[in-house]
């Protein structure tokens, strides 16, 4: 086979058409020079593009690392005007808000995706897919407005009972982030489920296994790694979201959840906590960064370092664990 002896395209290019083969091309040197120049220019562009990574990470470590200590993690913010204090409440707040968003958003996204790949008709699927793509392009601050309109600006009344009193709250922040999570999780999960070969569905069907068990215990289980990766990357994304929290969770310099009653009071205290404004790392960074106090600027850097460690470790870890190209492509922001 003569084709087998041809070197691959890249190998050809490295030798760049030897002069013997094209003896009469007197512009060869110029063309080769132009090629080198193009490589140089595009390399320069690539360096410019990745420079901010070095700068941002470098300055975060330079300015934030010295303020990172246990007290910073475990203390409440100091009263305004005093120096010191920490971001304990913001750490917990970020965790709580993300947890609420995940509890609401992840099931909707995953089971919705299961419907698309396992049950849905072509037309319904394309409508939902387009809808999810539109929602993925909606600026995150708009979700803040929606959650504000639902839970901050109005009481929620069901059958004549007021089940929710209006006001800035933990729940509103979580709901705003859930809205961002839903279309993201739906689309990534769908793409992963589509990768599950049909043969597995057929084999399971032929064993007389019920459809819902096939969906959950064969299809979703086969795709589990991809689904988890997609969900975690989506969560890493909302972990850094600030805009939707500005007028939903609002921020809080104290604990939103306070437990000092008897154990029977716990549910009530929980409910009360959900109805309180709550701190979150991104909010804290924002308000400290635009404040006039040097000590708050210092804390903003430290908090930013905490946040970036959280977000990047999730990203790096997951990308390392699943070197599956499709998953990576899909979950890029």
């Amino acid at each position: 086979m003569p084709a087998a002896t041809l070197p691959p395209a890249n190998a050809v290019s490295r030798e760049t058409s030897s002069p013997a083969a094209v003896p009469r091309d007197n512009r060869h040197g110029w063309r080769k020079g132009k090629s080198t120049l193009a490589s140089g220019v595009s390399l320069a562009c690539a360096l410019i593009v990745i420079t901010p990574l070095g700068f941002v990470l470098g300055y975060l470590i330079l300015k934030g690392a010295s303020s990172l200590n246990l007290a910073f993690f475990f203390n409440l913010p100091a009263p305004v005007g005093e120096t010191g204090g920490g971001v304990a409440n913001a750490n917990v707040g970020t965790f709580v808000v993300i947890a609420i968003a995940s509890v609401i958003g992840v099931p909707v996204g995953i089971f919705g995706a299961i419907y698309l790949t396992e049950y849905g008709g072509r037309r319904f699927n394309s409508v939902v897919r387009l809808g999810a793509d539109i929602l993925n392009g909606v600026p995150s601050i708009v979700w803040g407005i929606v959650a504000y309109a639902l839970l901050v600006n109005h009481d929620v009344v069901l059958f004549g009972h007021t089940i929710w009193h209006k006001g800035f709250s933990t729940l509103a922040g979580g709901v705003a982030l859930a809205f961002i999570l839903i279309p993201m999780v739906l689309r990534t999960t769908e793409e992963v489920l589509l990768l599950v070969p049909n043969g597995y569905r057929e084999a399971a069907t032929a064993l007389g296994i019920n459809r819902w068990r096939i969906c959950v215990q064969i299809v979703a289980k086969t795709a589990l790694k991809g689904i988890v990766t997609g969900v975690m990357l989506a969560v890493a994304r909302i972990a850094g979201e600030t805009a939707p929290l500005l007028f939903t969770a609002l921020g809080n310099r104290f604990w939103s959840f306070q437990f000092h009653g008897p154990i029977t009071a716990l549910p009530g205290e929980f409910a009360q906590g959900f109805a309180q404004p709550i701190a979150a790392l991104p909010l804290q960074i924002f308000s400290y960064a635009i404040s006039p106090y040097d000590d708050w600027h210092r804390q903003a850097w430290a908090a930013a370092l905490v946040l970036i460690l959280l977000v990047l470790s999730l990203n790096v870890g997951l990308r390392y664990l699943t070197r599956d190209r499709v998953v990576r492509v899909m979950t890029k922001p």
Partner: protein, 278 residues
């Protein structure tokens, strides 16, 4: 439907050394297909097929690509319904039970009629043992001893036990291609179906693995009714007791294998087996 002949075999006869008991003692034809047509579009993919598959024997279906042989096989356990828009007319009875009666759940049909596919497809998240028992476990069987016993029987029946008994916890997909296919047969046998459908089970295998699968088919027919689709006529002559020839969606000829190959009655059959088309 539930008190079918399949459910009459008592558990007590099952021992670790014996094979999974023959589920059916019935001497009636396993399948009785009357005037079966299947449509994916307007044009029928299978057109008015009437066929009776004898119990506890191997029936081969041969024919050129696109002749509807796979489609017909799939409608024997209602697998064709997975394709949106597929329609079927006519009746198919399994030991007298109408498989397409409105009150029948296709899931129940598929528990009685197992299937092995062209491409081996062990579940990638499961070990060898889990693959064999998955049909039972996901259908609600919890009894560990029973599962363990069934797994060993199924693996013995599919002639895989000696090769894998020491690494039952390895992933199913770590086996070789031929072993994977036998694992899939074990998986199908483990739910104790009355019939096994095989859709070109050896077409992706090398000759040695193929002959092992064929040996296995010969063993299994003592207990099972087997319907096998193949494009390999030699394979049909090696394994099948009777052979059906499909052409353009129609059943052209159905006869004992030797008779069909040595003395075909229809000119199309003769043309096909002598290699003049297809």
């Amino acid at each position: 439907m539930e008190p079918s002949p399949a459910t009459t075999a008592p558990v007590s006869t099952v021992t670790a050394t014996s094979a999974i008991p023959a589920p059916v003692q019935d001497t009636r034809p396993a399948f009785d297909a009357q005037n079966v047509s299947i449509f994916y579009t307007q044009k029928p993919a299978v057109d008015g097929v009437t066929l009776q598959v004898p119990s506890r024997s191997v029936t081969a279906i041969i024919g050129p690509s696109g002749c509807g042989k796979s489609t017909f096989l799939r409608c024997l356990n209602r697998m064709h319904e997975l394709v949106p828009g597929a329609r079927m007319t006519g009746t198919i009875r399994l030991y007298g039970d109408d498989l397409y009666a409105p009150e029948i759940d296709p899931t129940v049909v598929r528990r009685r009629v197992g299937m092995v596919f062209q491409k081996s497809n062990p579940f990638p998240t499961m070990s060898i043992a889990e693959n064999v028992t998955v049909g039972l476990r996901l259908n609600g069987v919890r009894d560990r001893a029973f599962l363990r016993e069934r797994m060993e029987q199924a693996l013995r029946m599919s002639a895989l036990w000696d090769e894998v008994k020491n690494d039952l916890n390895r992933p199913g997909i770590s086996l070789s291609g031929g072993q994977q296919q036998r694992l899939c047969i074990a998986r199908a046998v483990a739910v104790q179906p009355e019939v096994l459908l095989m859709d070109e089970p050896a077409s992706a295998l090398d000759p040695i693995a193929t002959s092992k699968v064929e040996e296995l088919i010969n063993d299994l027919k003592k207990n099972y009714t087997i319907v096998i689709v193949t494009h390999n006529m030699q394979q049909a002559t090696r394994v099948a007791d009777q052979t059906a020839f499909f052409y353009l969606g129609k059943l052209i000829e159905f006869a004992p294998t030797r008779e069909l190959f040595n003395n075909p009655r229809q000119p199309q059959t003769e043309a096909y087996i002598t290699g003049r088309f297809g």
